[in-house]
Amino acid sequence: MSLRAVIYDVWILGIGLQTVLALVLLGKRAWQRYPVFSAYVFLNLFGAALSYAVFQNKIVYFYAFWICEAVGIILGLGVVREIFTNVFSPHPALRRLAKIIFRVAVVGLVVPAVGAIYAQSGNAKSIPYAVLLAAQAARIVEVGLIMFLFLCSSAFGLHWRQNVFGMALGLGMIGAVELVTVTLMGHVNSATAETLNLVHGISFSTSLLIWLGYLLAPERLVAVEVPKRAQLEQWNQAVTELISR
């Protein structure tokens, strides 16, 4: 089986998984709670179906693919915003501070993203390469913001709802892999580019499985373990001894 055939199979698998995910979102009415994420999933499904339909016509395929990709990147950033709102909305005390840090992070990420475009713009002799540069910059912002969300929620000790955690994890995974592939794509030969396409396809299917898994799995119950009274007293005694030494 040739590499091209494997890529094609992975692509078809991706479309199948996207269809299942779209059905799950509709069935669980998740689009009411996560409208931007649902729009992102439906757009990807539409883009994949459209690309499949116009695959034979290279020019139409090019424009269809990159228009969907551009809208997908904007929606991806919208999903990050939706995750942010979901994580911080129950905590008004943290929300204001988190918003400020989030805005600073956006500015802090846009600067290196623009820097990356500027540094490589001299090599951008063709439209596809320029599009790859723009995609790279957008992915830097997207992955950076998801990393920021994970770090920030860990510092504040926040707990993620299962669905939201899955959304962030899947988006982060595909974002990180896309960042690597679009960065390397302009520097490699066509054989390696095919391998990168395969890696991208597999990682996209993995992200779809992550989203499906976290959407379908039941929310974990909070298991709170309380230490025994004797333990508490032992601890207090130990500390009292330590500080009175």
Binding site: P90, S154, A155, T183, L184, V222, V226
Partner: protein, 171 residues
């Protein structure tokens, strides 16, 4: 160069996501750890520290202060961890159909979030003081806030009659 930086960023992201998944599994069994507020108050007492500074030789004071800071950091970490656990249980209680339970849970969560923030500030200050023991930064007002959290958690426990565990006495 840009390529290397970008790939490094992507790898960092993957490592971070892996760590997040692992820590989420650990969080599934949350553990409340007791905090002795009297001992903590003594550790944070600045008069006590001034007394030691006057009476002890500089090297001994530095060693003792760093030792105190190490213990204090453990206390602050416990308080932060308990506040985080309270945030977690508060989320469930906040959705209660009983308005009083829901509003008390919201108060508890607000307080726990504030404590969590103060713990971050306290950690920063403690790290600075550890690096420069002669520094005496304003201590974070953690004790009164934490006491208030305990009281609110107790009130929440009283309201939720089905709660089998006396959480307030455990934290």
């Amino acid at each position: 160069m840009i390529t290397v930086i970008v790939i490094a960023l992507a790898l960092c992201a993957v490592v971070l996501f892996y760590t997040a998944v692992r820590s989420r599994r650990k969080q599934a069994a949350e553990l409340f750890r007791p905090v002795d507020l009297n001992a903590f108050r003594t550790l944070m007492d600045r008069d006590d520290e001034l007394f030691m500074k006057e009476k002890l030789p500089r090297s001994k004071f530095t060693r003792l202060k760093r030792q105190r800071i190490r213990v204090t950091v453990r206390y602050v970490a416990r308080i932060a961890s308990n506040a985080s656990a309270v945030l977690h249980i508060g989320e469930t209680a906040r959705l209660s159909s009983t308005p009083e339970v829901a509003s008390t849970a919201a108060q508890v969560m607000e307080l726990a979030a504030q404590i969590r923030l103060q713990c971050l500030v306290a950690m920063g200050k403690l790290l600075l003081e550890y690096a420069m023991p002669s520094l005496q930064l304003t201590p974070a007002m953690l004790v009164p806030k934490y006491q208030s959290l305990r009281e609110n958690v107790r009130r929440l426990g009283d309201l939720q009659t089905q709660t089998p565990i006396p959480l307030a006495s455990a934290i």
